[in-house]
């Protein structure tokens, strides 16, 4: 345990002594085990042991970064020296202010489970086998692919402002993709489950679940081209929420390349939508008291009743804006959202569908806007036509188009019930009057 932090601290000192004014070092060790499925058979079992050291050094704000997979003192000293030299070669950046300073707070609970870290590969093989059996019990000729895997990591972070942190984390999860055929008719669907603790995942049912869903996509038809409501199911709505959260990155906004530039404080979405980014949910998939730069995270209300209320900062963008850092930095200098928790509405997902005269239900994907313009031109890869409050047939080769603001201002319902992946809330969302493109 101590070795990683020692190595990170050493690299920090060496880079400083070589002329770097600010330094951040991350050292890590990890183990991944993955069991892959293909053609409803176990395809391969693999194990990857990794280690690495990443150094970011700053001279007058100019950044030199070096990463290496060697983790010994000699390599560490060499990489630190090289990072300092590269920082000197980089041009000064007057917008850089400082790396995070130490702040003490308790780490979020439930991010590491030694039962997952110690899980033998045979157990993953067994889970993969159960998924095949479950899928075949639903439809004998199903073609199931996907996999079951675990990730266990130990990392240490040191910076020249005095931050010294270590953390251990685990993930266990599985995904399945089922394809079913009846003659030339093909249906397919995907399901997944991930968690940081053993009790937070139910992995053995995923093959059967994906297969049951795939069967519902048989008999797909082209919808008509016309304006209608979109009802985003939990996976599709989560995609939309993450798109909005990532667009709220201060980097893109400060650089004027995001469609959210100059929109802070303005109503950009219907008042039905509030999105909170919360990195403190125990056992949450994206949880952690500190961000990748070692800064203390803050909860951020990104969208407040439709108003773009706040953006996501790392140390660079916060310093540049002269605002408090809300702790969304990644160790590489990027910005990332954490767990997303939209505020819920009053209607159930079932009632939202019943209340929709004509629309398109989107199970997964869709609505990814152009990050600069906000234009949306997207395929509906998995969806159903809604007529008179019922899902009547799966659609094939349908698209939606519009501008993200025009579309999101027409959100008129967020469901009261939801799918939950640890720390993240995925409701059903309805948007009225969107351009759907099909045949005719």
């Amino acid at each position: 345990m101590a070795k990683l932090l020692e190595m990170a601290s050493l690299a920090c000192e060496v880079a400083k002594s070589e002329g770097a004014e600010w330094v951040q070092v991350t050292a890590s060790e990890s183990l991944d085990i993955f069991v892959e499925l293909a053609k409803s058979s176990l395809k391969a079992a693999s194990a990857a042991a990794g280690q690495g050291l990443s150094i970011r050094a700053f001279v007058k704000g100019g950044l030199g970064s070096v990463s290496t997979e060697a983790l010994n003192e000699r390599a560490c000293r060499k990489a630190a020296k090289e990072a300092a030299q590269m920082a000197s070669a980089a041009e000064p950046d007057p917008d850089f202010v400082a790396l995070p300073s130490p702040e003490d707070a308790e780490e979020v609970e439930g991010l590491f489970d030694d039962r997952i870290a110690g899980l033998p590969s045979e157990k993953l093989v067994e889970v993969a086998g159960r998924n095949i059996e479950g899928a075949e019990s639903v439809f004998g000729e199903v073609i199931l692919s996907g996999g079951v895997g675990l990730h266990s990591a130990h990392s240490a972070l040191a910076n020249s402002a005095g931050v010294r942190r270590e953390r251990k984390s685990t993930f266990l999860g599985a995904s399945t993709f089922a394809v079913v055929k009846q003659g030339s008719d093909v249906g397919s669907f995907y399901d997944f489950d991930y968690g940081r603790r053993l009790e937070d995942v139910a992995l053995e049912e995923l093959g059967a679940k994906a297969t049951r869903q795939a069967l519902t996509f048989l008999g797909a038809r082209h919808p008509q081209t016309r304006r209608m409501a979109l009802v985003l199911g939990p996976l599709a709505s989560f995609g939309l929420l993450r798109t909005l959260a990532y667009s709220a990155s201060a980097e893109g906004i400060q650089r004027k390349r995001s469609f959210l530039t100059d929109m802070r404080g303005k109503q950009i979405v219907s008042e039905h939508l509030t999105i909170i980014d919360d990195g403190f949910i125990p056992r949450g998939l994206y949880s952690g008291t500190y961000d990748g730069e070692g800064a203390l995270r803050r909860r951020v209300k990104i969208i407040d009743k439709g108003v773009f209320a706040d953006l996501l900062h790392n140390s660079y963008t916060a310093g540049k804006a002269g605002e408090p850092n809300n702790g969304h930095g990644t160790s590489g200098g990027g910005i990332s959202a954490t767990n997303l928790r939209p505020e819920l509405g009053k209607m159930s997902a079932e009632d939202i569908i019943k209340d929709t005269e004509e629309g398109l239900y989107i199970n997964m994907g869709g609505l990814g806007p152009n990050p600069a313009s906000g234009d949306v031109s997207a395929s509906v890869d998995f969806g159903f036509k809604i007529e008179n409050g019922r899902l009547v047939f799966p659609v094939i080769n349908a698209m939606v188009g519009g501008h993200i603001f025009e579309i999101l201002k027409k959100i008129d319902a967020v469901s009261s019930d939801y799918r939950e992946e640890p720390g993240n809330i995925m409701p059903t969302i309805r948007i009225q009057d969107v351009q759907v493109v099909g045949k005719g």
Binding site: L42, V66, I143, R255, G374, V437
Partner: protein, 467 residues
């Protein structure tokens, strides 16, 4: 390293592996980001490690490590064998490899200017020149410019228990320009990328007019372009969109692993006419210096030109050692891995449609009202349904046989087998300049794609207003 690889193969034989291969790899690279007038982010990375794959009683095991000491490598081999043995119970489709003569050879990229011998300052200065010329040419409307440079030098030993021993030394260099233009509340962006198997000389051969200035001008021009209409239209593809169609819609379906599992729409169609007689599609990793090229694949099989469709007839698939065995054919050098940490899987290289006889004007002329799609950006496919999406960075309306008003970025969607049959005309002009990374099975590998201008009878256009 060669001796070490052979020792590991010998050890695999002793452990009753019916097949095993070892990839030992060392790589290094630099990247520079120039943004808004400053080269303020420079980085370097070094990777090294080994991937050991074994086949034991029909079950595959794979282990990786980034410690290259013999002791650690032997432990990884043991782990791979143990993983394979522990998996047997659920293997219903046993693994196999084609029995082919071993390959011994070397691949060395021929370069003029080794990027490792060019200083960061020289690299940064060159990239800044591209940015400066673009900003000078495009003026005040450009509000953000990002120039990104990267180079990589990869050395790899590939050995297997059949006796194959290949050494690869590959240098790739890339540079991209992303320009964002603003007018009022309208913001548009454009992206250009140049990438090759090449040293730093690539940057000295690029004209700013064909690269950063073009991105800046296109971003600015998009400010006055309108959103595309929504509906079904006759469309004409720019070669970059043809490339996306060829890669996404056809190429992924022609990867034999998808065919073997039954997920590809091309299963059972070998020898059948699946496209217009005008269509010939080829995957060719032997093209000199193209971004997707290589002499040996990640299993050590020599690369070769593969005809996928010839005059509309499905002629072949892309194969690895395993899929070749299962189909009872020869491997054709299409097994690729992102790096040592991944197993090789069946992949494309440089995939393109052959040019035809028509002039561009002849292609556009019969269209009363349609859409010209330009500047292919990205695409994806669901192989089991053959449903694909391609995204165009810009376009033009076609009215009465002529190009009309400019259009903003838009996606089109279609069904592979319908679209291939609906191809009505193909130009003699040809372009393959879409170097990028293709994602599959969690891995990205360098590819290129392109083709001629193509007219398709009808496609769904994801526009913003009903037509």
């Amino acid at each position: 390293m060669k001796e070490l690889a052979q020792v590991l193969c010998d050890e695999a034989r002793k452990r009753s592996c019916s097949f095993a291969d070892v990839r030992l790899q060392e790589s290094e690279g630099t990247s520079i980001l120039v943004q808004d007038g400053r080269a303020d982010k420079v980085s370097a990375s070094k990777r090294h490690g080994a991937g050991l794959r074994v086949l034991v009683d029909g079950a595959w095991g794979f282990a990786t490590t980034n410690r290259l000491e013999k002791r650690t490598l032997l432990a990884a081999l043991e782990q791979a064998v143990s993983l394979a043995r522990g998996s047997k119970e659920y293997v219903a489709d046993p693994g196999a490899v084609a029995q082919v003569p071993p390959t011994c050879g070397e691949e060395h990229t021929s370069i003029k200017k080794d990027p490792r011998r060019v200083s960061i300052r020289e690299k940064a200065a060159k990239i800044r020149q591209f940015e400066e010329s673009a900003l000078k040419a495009a003026g005040q409307k450009i509000v953000n410019s990002v120039l990104s440079y990267g180079d990589s030098v990869v050395q790899e030993i590939i050995a297997n228990t059949s006796g194959t021993l290949v050494e690869r030394h590959t240098v790739r260099t890339s540079v991209s320009a992303t320009m964002t233009a603003l007018e009022g509340e309208l913001r548009q962006t454009d992206h250009e990328r140049k990438a090759q198997i090449s040293g730093f000389e690539l940057l000295e051969e690029i004209s700013p007019e064909e690269f950063s200035i073009r991105a800046a001008h296109k971003a600015t021009q998009l400010l006055s372009a309108k959103p595309a209409p929504a509906g079904s239209f006759p469309v004409v593809f720019h070669p970059s969109i043809t490339g996306l169609l060829v890669h996404e819609a056809l190429g992924h379906n022609a990867e034999a692993d998808h065919v073997w599992t039954g997920e590809s729409i091309l299963e059972g169609k070998l020898g059948e006419k699946i496209a217009s007689a005008l269509v010939t599609i080829v995957d060719d990793p032997t093209i000199s210096n193209s971004y997707g090229s290589y002499k040996y694949d990640s299993e050590g099989t020599p690369s070769q030109r593969c005809i996928l469709i010839e005059k509309g007839v499905l002629k072949g698939f892309l194969h690895s050692l395993e899929t070749a065995s299962k189909f009872g054919t020869s491997p054709n050098g299409s097994a690729r891995a992102q790096n040592y940490a991944y197993c090789p899987v069946v992949r494309m290289s440089n995939t393109f449609m052959e040019p035809g006889p028509a002039a561009f004007e002849e292609i556009v002329k019969p269209i009363e009202r349609g859409i010209f799609l330009d500047h292919g950006q990205w695409g994806y496919v669901f192989v089991e349904r053959g449903q694909y999406t391609c995204h165009a960075g810009s376009g033009r309306m076609i009215e009465h046989g002529r190009l009309g008003e400019p259009l903003r970025d838009v996606s089109v969607a279609g069904l592979t087998l319908e679209t291939l049959k609906d191809i009505e005309a193909i130009s003699s002009d040809f372009e393959m300049d879409m170097p990028g990374h293709c994602g599959k099975a969690g891995q990205g590998v360098p590819v290129n794609t392109g083709g001629p201008y193509v007219r398709v009878k009808s496609l769904i256009v994801g526009g913003q207003s009903g037509d």
